[in-house]
Symmetry: C2
Subunit: 366 residues, 2 copies
């Protein structure tokens, strides 16, 4: 297959998402790609995924493109998010051979046991070489989208990536990773600095490849308290947004809106709204009004229906969406779920959620 170049992309015909992300007035509120797990509820997605192992899927631009577009064929969404995984960076920092698997969740094959294991990581990652497969997937997908909606790139944030690198998989308490914060603050800092350097290059590379917005997932913020988040997560989240924006400018690339989602970091909303991100994602434990009060008019808010609400009847879903849109108000808002979908959810109920967002957001404008 001829490799497409990251240039001469088709003109964007639907910029609702990007304008909402920038806080501009939009004709209707809009909807992101239901976050990254949207595809897994679709039979066609599971079939494509099952054809090869998870890491092989992530490394194939054609498979990533197909998996990215499948939910968009089913649902009238206003943005696509590239199919990939947050563990591509830890993988690139490793020996290059060890992959990870995903059964009930990600499993990282050779977790860091102590600070001395940091020596085993590559000191520098050449993102073009080690993560070029993601860039190629973005370029291909952006071409295939033909300008119908923008394409969002993403990464995991340093603390979240480090939890996987230390825990080796999911954990309720993250106690091994948190042990590092208290026992090895210096080594932890080195690890985050290394991760931040890679993340910055990786995100800029995604924009160069065609990403039109960027999302940073701090999925494991909730096991940190306010002080630990301020010490060990926020500085790196801020470093990422600041350095990405500078580097985009230096490289002559377009500035793109950046989204930060720190799950369960209810205590940090104010700080997150002052961290050079255009959009702050909210989980479903946050009251809309409280989020508005804490973030002022500084950012666009994205969220936050409980994903499990999609188990409800379609009528009840519509009612909950209506209530959510009324609570957040029209301006500076991107309707979405408060976290990803679960595999056993009914695609028709996702459809009901999306229809309800369109129905009530358009109504508000009249």
């Amino acid at each position: 297959m001829e490799q497409l170049k990251p240039q001469d992309f088709p003109a964007l015909k639907n910029d609702t998402f990007l304008r909402a992300a920038r806080g501009e007035e939009v004709p209707a509120m809009c909807l992101c790609g239901c976050m990254r797990q949207a595809g897994q509820i679709l039979a066609e997605f599971r079939e494509t995924r099952a054809a090869q192992d998870f890491f092989a899927s992530c490394r194939s631009p054609e498979v990533c493109c197909e998996l990215t577009l499948q939910p968009l064929r089913r649902f009238p969404l206003d943005a696509a998010i590239i199919f990939s995984d947050i563990l591509v960076i830890p993988q690139a920092l490793g020996d290059g051979d060890s992959a990870w698997s995903r059964g009930g969740g990600p499993v990282f094959p050779e977790p860091l046991k102590g600070p001395e294991d940091l020596q085993k990581l590559k000191p520098v990652v050449d993102v073009s070489e080690d993560l070029g497969y993601v860039f190629r997937a973005i370029t291909l997908t952006r071409h295939k989208i033909s300008g119908r909606f923008p394409l969002i790139g993403f990464t995991g944030a340093p603390w979240t990536l480090m939890t996987y690198m230390i825990e080796g998989g999911g954990s309720n308490t993250m106690s091994k990773a948190k042990q590092w914060l208290y026992q090895h603050p210096g080594a932890s800092t080195s690890c985050w600095q290394l991760l931040t350097d890679v993340i910055v290059d990786y995100l800029v590379g995604q924009v160069a490849a065609g990403a039109q917005a960027l999302q940073v997932f701090e999925s494991h913020a909730g096991c940190l308290g306010p002080q630990q988040f301020a010490d060990f997560s926020l500085p790196y989240l801020r470093g990422i947004s600041c350095r990405v924006k500078k580097k985009l400018k230096a490289d002559g690339l377009e500035q793109v809106p950046m989204i930060v989602f720190a799950k369960d970091a209810h205590y940090a909303l104010e700080d997150l709204s002052q961290s050079d991100y255009e959009v702050v994602g909210l989980d479903w434990t946050i009251r809309p009004q409280e989020a508005r009060e804490k973030t002022g008019k500084r950012v666009t808010l994205q969220g936050n229906l409980d994903p499990c609400a999609l188990y409800a009847s379609k009528e009840n879903i519509e009612e909950m969406v209506k209530k959510m849109l009324e609570a957040f108000g029209c301006r500076g808002y991107i309707a979405n779920l408060g976290h990803g979908l679960y595999p056993d959810m009914d695609p028709e109920h996702v459809g009901a959620f999306i229809s309800a967002v369109h129905k009530y957001s358009e109504k508000k404008e009249n």
Copy 2:
């Protein structure tokens, strides 16, 4: 062994904990039993526990008494919490034979698959018969304590118990249990009403047996949002405190302070402080000042050092405790961790935490 009766208990010589729980002025701030997992870091505890399976431990008053007292022999704590498990109630509602196990966490052998499975539960539980082993453990332990400190009883709250009954074990998302909230609200309500009835009798029975304070654990509050908590958890938490107090009065029993701990329910602190509990427990994601603002002077606060802080050096633990005590202030406060201990923690660091609490709380009084 002669069975001790729940009467003629030795006089209580240290009522600091009970007075602090009631918001009275105390000579020093005090410390609860480091929550229920305190024992598992001790070699003697693990040895006693390993001698029989978990359920057998819970059913033996002598073993429960020994496991309750072991942490108290090591550490100068101001209260003991009875060794037991929140799953004793789901077990009592089942066929009476099936037990549960605890490896990485509780595993419930025959989870509820749908509302029809509620028919399999006993419609009424005679707590004296089915949970009398807990009462006997409390009576024995209270006698053995010889009035050195008060003994706390506890239960899981209805929503948390129901998550175990449906999920069958731990879960990151609790999506099966949450599915019930959206698809079977009627059946969920029946289940909570049944659980609430048992819990009320169970707590009153604990006081009759000798418990001097009661704690209600809503450990899985965090997967509910504000609206769901208000609809599906809070009414039952309030029902429990209100009915227990009434029944204690009707039965001519002493009123005891009640503690509620709804982990990760940052959005519900104000409501919890108006729910007829004397003490509200806090996890470590809550800022002390914010907790004070939201709860006024209505309740005593208990918490909330990050348990992982015990991985830090003893000097750093002391520093963190000092900061915590200063932030919460002296009155209406019970120093504690924000959740239970993890098995790999060093008993000496728990000792450092407790010493620091005593050191700085006594200092504040001068």
